[in-house]
Symmetry: C2
Subunit: 377 residues, 2 copies
């Protein structure tokens, strides 16, 4: 009998929390970073390589999967876990964010959003109920309510309208999710842009509706980091301490430690995978651009002290060559290195929250990034 | 102390041979298929995945590596094995074939060939001596002489000229290779197009010069399979039985069994890797085009009896989805499956040559390909 969704906090250090989420597909240690598996694959990596990086949960994109290959098809094939050969936990988003960023001719109404598919131009309707239905078909362990995410900066009136619409959709999503198989969870999403009052109102109303977990959406959409951190500071205290808090679409390694320090438990972001495909490595020394000619003759690995074999076994010269030659293996190795670095960072946070030394860990990480890359010999 | 190059025949069955090549980087069981690692990577696979497919030797392309990242650079970085993290055997071609097929404004003279790089237009000279020097710098276990390969059909006069030039280059290559570190080998290349007399003359003259192994070049360049097989039948008996015979740039699974049946020991070809990137799988049931819509809802693996976990663990529906969505993982999984199938085929040939049942093995393989793919349920 698989575990039902639950969450327990195992240790705290200031506002930072280390905990564990139980899911029907195994436990998730928090703070957790979820690699993004947009089209039923983390780009460039077989699932066993994603697992080897340290991930115990990944994110699937409802928008992409509903359009291709289709939610009903994936359900008939045994669900997303089976389809993509990933037996561990999966969180799916609601599709709302990608509708806003990828599709054309979208129309937002109270009942839902209609849009044209970016693949073939077909008109598609996504309602809160359909978003839940799709995620149930996919079989995700954690589903997200449909919400409306507004790009910043935006007028307050617009932020308020989208926040209230998202609240109405939260209620309908919760009702629709009552039909889901037992053990799975649906999270509500706090909206309100960069307006503290709207954010607090949104969070309180969601807590009144009641969800097993809460996300903060509508950030990492162009605002300065300080706005994001202040919003977390406003919202986190309103959310119940015994429920996980998920900051959507974030972020850089620095974003992650700052958000964890403010009480966030879960993250997803395309940065480690997308930047890896574009020749950028995340390391203890900060980001390193492998295309740079200074690496061409450098026999040293990216980081000989890394826990990731790929970061230790290949020379910078070789990674530089692969990136310059536009070889798939360059994207594969850098994606591997980046996901491992992100997971190493999360593991370090979990360990030091447990021992009450989280602040020291963050200071050391920041110091390493500030010192920059080791000089060429 | 690493092994010096040597070859011994372990078993024969008709003209087919099973043997073992010793190299400074480990043994190579023959008949052997060498995956192509053009730009210091087998496209889409980390070296441990290439190894896991069953390969104990791969091919590197001198033309690509001399232009980028450069032979002197690779030598300074410890040689090609170290550069690409492949500790097993490597054979390099001479660069001649790609000069003919990829570069512009090439000029063939007695002293060598000059051409413009397809990367930046720089003028480059490649002589027999320089081709050997580059391969020594790369550190390849088996180097190839520079030759001139002529596209078929071609006038006899042209075939004869290129064959004689290749013979002159063979002598110069052998002399230049006397400077190579001990234990490595240089192969001569039989030319002569589709003309039996020229082929036999070329083979005899090369044997007179004397090489530790012989290749048949200038095939798989557009001629019918029967011309290729007849050429092997003409040439193989002229070559010494105690030296490996390498058929360059071949081929389909059927080509491989036909050539082994005629005494060939080594092959290289881009088909399993290139076709894998284009959505085609080689299987016991013949080639399967994963893009075909009939796979979209098929939960069955490509081949549940395969020795390759990838061919057993992913559904046809998932592979179809990845190929349609143009996801890197589609290319990665199909490349893995194809290389494993090729190696499984070679292992099957080696085993059945040893037991004197090679003809049965070939008949069963041909029967499977002819029967075609298992029907959709």
């Amino acid at each position: 009998m698989p575990d039902a969704f639950s969450f327990r906090v195992l240790a705290t250090d200031g506002a930072a929390r280390h905990g564990e989420i139980a899911t029907p597909h195994g436990p998730v240690a928090t703070p957790a970073f979820m690699p993004v598996g947009t089209q039923a694959t983390v780009k460039g990596l077989p699932p066993e390589a994603v697992r080897a990086s340290g991930a115990d949960i990944l994110l699937g994109n409802t928008y992409h999967l509903m359009l291709r290959p289709g939610a009903e098809r994936i359900a008939a094939l045994g669900g997303l876990h089976c389809f993509m050969n990933w037996p561990h936990a999966i969180l799916t988003d609601s599709g709302g964010f990608q509708v806003m960023s990828l599709s054309e001719l979208r129309k937002v109404e109270d009942k839902g959003v209609t849009f044209r598919s970016h693949l073939d131009g077909a008109q598609v309707e996504l309602t809160p109920e359909r978003a839940v239905e799709i995620q149930v078909l996919l079989g995700s362990d954690i589903a997200m309510q449909l919400d409306e995410c507004v790009k910043l900066p935006a007028p307050r009136r617009e932020l308020e309208r989208a926040m209230r619409l998202s609240l109405a959709w939260a209620e309908r999503s919760k009702r629709a999710f009552e039909q889901a198989p037992p053990g799975r969870a649906l999270f509500g999403i706090v909206q309100g842009g960069d307006d503290p009052q709207l954010r607090i109102e949104s969070a309180r109303a969601l807590v009144d509706i009641g969800f097993p977990g809460y996300a903060i959406g509508g950030l990492a959409v162009g605002e300065p980091q300080e706005v994001m951190l202040r919003t977390i500071e406003d919202v986190a205290p309103v959310l119940p301490a015994d429920r996980p808090r998920y900051l959507m679409g974030v972020g850089t390694p620095e974003d992650l430690i700052e958000a964890v320090a403010r009480g966030i438990d879960m993250f997803d972001c395309v940065l480690p995978t997308r930047n890896g495909r574009h020749g950028l490595a995340f390391t203890r020394f900060g980001p390193i651009t492998l295309k740079n000619a200074r690496h061409a003759d450098d026999p040293r690995p990216l980081d000989e002290a890394s826990s990731c074999p790929t970061a230790r076994q290949y020379s910078r010269a070789y990674l530089h060559h692969l990136v310059k030659a536009n070889e798939m293996l360059g994207a594969i190795l850098l994606t591997t290195i980046n996901l491992a670095y992100y997971q190493e960072l999360m593991a370090g946070m979990r360990a030091t929250i447990s021992t009450g030394t989280f602040a020291d860990f963050c200071a050391a990480a920041r110091e390493g990034w500030a010192r920059g890359d080791i000089p060429v010999q």
